[in-house]
């Protein structure tokens, strides 16, 4: 379905891999470099999304909007009237109601495409390799394949585990049956995803703000989901997730929008 994105991505990954020398660690670096390039290319969308989210936050804290929501809650206006007045407020404040979700929708296929490109390029089974070969447009593909999947302590084609303490863990926890590897990358994915979600979610002091409540729930669910994917699937994806999260955080920091106090704040202060 997304082949028009995935196949060019596979070739760009392979090109970077080849440029780096196609040796040990190079596919890991290729993933990191390509992730940074993708994030840089998506920067205008990311910025637009953040600006729009900030505007929506302002709307949620606007006295007129809080009054409007109160009226609706008390049944003084119906849904149609609420929508009309909300649109009028959007117009007055210069807010595009789709400004936040449209960049997300545009980024989604690219992020999913990257996920699949990493999986496809690693080709860990005969059928995957057969499907990969015709899609490669590099002249010397035969010398590049299969990719060297070693990166630091990882095999990028396998779920990542660090076995440095495996003996101690196995002795302490014999029911693990010798599988005492620590999923370091999955843990890093959870932490960086949580940081990213918390840092990039605008605060809201409006207790009726449904989108803020949804964002708080997503800030918990998304890191868990990403962590589970990283624990289960190949380490190449986890490298991509960690790099992507870190680059997003750096971009957010360069925009001067990192607020570390959000990490510790459990609940937004209520409006006075």
């Amino acid at each position: 379905m997304l082949d028009f994105i995935i196949n060019p991505f596979v070739n760009i990954l392979l090109y970077i891999y080849q440029f780096l020398g196609a040796g040990v660690n190079d596919f890991g670096w290729a993933i990191l470099i390509f992730t940074i390039l993708i994030r840089l290319a998506l920067y205008p969308l990311t910025k637009s999304q953040m600006d729009s989210a900030k505007s929506m936050q302002k709307l949620n804290e606007h006295p007129d909007y809080i009054k409007l929501q109160k009226k609706k809650k008390e049944g003084k206006i119906d849904q149609e009237k609420f929508a009309q007045e909300q649109m009028e407020l959007y117009r007055q404040l210069g807010i595009n109601p789709f400004g936040s979700c449209l960049p997300t929708l545009l980024q989604f296929p690219i992020i999913i495409g990257m996920y699949w490109a990493v999986t496809k390029a690693l080709a860990t089974s005969p059928l995957q390799l057969i499907e990969l070969i015709p899609e490669i447009s590099l002249q010397n593909a035969a010398t590049l394949l299969p990719l060297n999947s070693h990166f630091l302590w990882m095999d990028l084609s396998q779920p990542e585990r660090w076995y440095g303490l495996a003996d101690i863990i196995t002795k302490a926890l014999p029911f693990l049956n010798g599988n005492g590897g620590i999923p370091i990358l999955a843990i890093l994915v959870v932490i960086t995803s949580y940081f990213q979600s918390k840092m990039m979610t605008p605060t809201s002091s409006n207790p009726n703000d449904q989108s803020a409540a949804m964002s708080r729930m997503m800030a918990l669910y998304v890191p868990v989901l990403m962590g589970w994917i990283s624990y289960t699937y190949s380490a190449g994806l986890a490298v991509y997730f960690v790099a992507s999260n870190l680059v997003s955080l750096m971009q957010y920091g360069l925009m001067g929008k990192l607020d570390f106090s959000k990490l510790l704040r459990r609940k937004e202060p209520a409006a006075k």
């Binding site: 059928l127 060297n148 949804m214």
Partner: protein
């Protein structure tokens, strides 16, 4: 409102999970069925099971192995390579859950044979008189005695998908690190190694003069002196080579490639006697089957064809259609008198059975 939120979040995660998993079910194949024939029984390793088919009764399913799939050691187990028949009715088969299993064909019981490899078992292990040599996709070859005790391990720098070949006191393996290795079979010590220039995913052929023949992704066939690893000759092919060369009579070998070409090549000097394109816009992932004085080849686009040894096509049958995207992979397997078994994916059918005239005798479709 809480219910709506919960529903929205559930739908979001379901959609994301589907996208990330490629909208695929649990039983999606990673490879094609691996077939081993023992007398009147064909063992077909495919996805979660090894199916025992009765060849005397048109391939009827006689047993599904292992019998108890809820056993915790079988979690995530997927079987694809042709199983190895051990003595006493046991099958040795590696799985995609990184475990090597021994399965009792009598009661269907599965026992973990080796669990310390940390990658898939894609290649068929080599069974000799008193040893088992099992390559893993982690790049190691493991040597066991027949009771399952590990004797040695030899590491290469990339996955091994090819079965080793034995000659006297040595085994020869090809790794995807682009190299062929000769190892002392008793100790695992390397005797020589040779850079092939590109990866090879299938086994070399070894002739009576001790010459190894291996095809590579570099569109090349190499003849190698098994004694010292020196290249005797090289011949270019039109496409990347996936399948093993097949040695015929009178100093001729037969080779296929991923451009769906079939070649007859002289073993003395690599001269190509003839080549035929079996089909356009497809590939051949298996070797040719030399059977009843004819060559049988199958293509990824669901075509089976037979040629005489002079390269003239005898028969051809196509099975793929828009509604039924049959793909044939691997090497056709001779299964007794005038019976050829072919691995299939793309539809629910896992095995097609043909006679030498390529008439379909029966098909096998697993229950799941």
């Amino acid at each position: 409102m809480k219910k709506t939120k919960l529903l929205a979040i559930t739908i979001f995660f379901l959609a994301l999970s589907l996208v990330l998993s490629g909208c695929q079910g649990a039983a999606v194949a990673n490879s094609w069925p691996g077939i081993t024939v023992d007398g009147a029984t064909a063992y077909v390793a495919y996805n979660q099971a090894v199916y025992a088919l009765d060849l005397d009764r048109d391939g009827q399913l006689s047993e599904t192995l292992p019998a108890n799939t809820s056993d915790s050691s079988l979690k995530g187990a997927l079987f694809y390579h042709p199983p190895v028949l051990l003595e006493d009715g046991y099958l040795l088969t590696g799985s995609y859950n990184n475990k090597l299993f021994e399965i009792d064909t009598q009661d269907g019981g599965a026992r973990e044979f080796f669990t310390e490899a940390r990658n898939r078992w894609i290649a068929t292990p080599l069974l000799t008189e008193n040893r088992i040599f099992a390559p893993n996709a982690n790049g190691s070859v493991y040597a066991f005695d027949l009771s399952g005790d590990l004797l040695w391990e030899f590491e290469t720098d990339a996955a091994i998908w090819a079965t080793p070949v034995m000659n006297g006191s040595r085994i020869y393996i090809v790794s995807q690190d682009h190299k062929m290795y000769a190892l002392n079979a008793a100790t695992g010590d390397p005797v020589w190694e040779l850079d092939l220039g590109s990866a090879a995913v299938n086994s070399p052929a070894l002739d009576a003069d001790g010459v190894l023949y291996i095809g590579t992704f570099g569109s090349r066939l190499l003849a190698i002196d098994s004694d010292n690893g020196s290249i005797i000759w090289e011949t270019d092919t039109l496409g990347w080579v996936w399948g093993s060369p097949v040695l015929g009579a009178d100093g001729i070998l037969y080779l296929t490639d991923l451009e769906a070409n079939l070649y007859a090549i002289e073993t003395a000097d690599g001269n190509i006697l003839w080549s035929k394109q079996v089909d356009a816009d497809t590939g051949i992932t298996g070797s040719a089957l030399l059977y009843n004085e004819a060559l049988f080849v199958v293509t990824n686009s669901g075509l089976i064809a037979s040629y005489n040894l002079e390269g003239e096509r005898l028969w051809k049958e196509e099975f793929a259609s828009e509604d039924s995207p049959v793909e044939f992979h691997g090497t056709p397997v001779a299964a007794g008198d005038n019976l050829i078994l072919v691995s299939s994916i793309g539809t629910e059918t896992a095995v097609f059975a043909f006679n030498s005239e390529l008439e379909t005798l029966w098909q096998f479709t697993p229950d799941n």
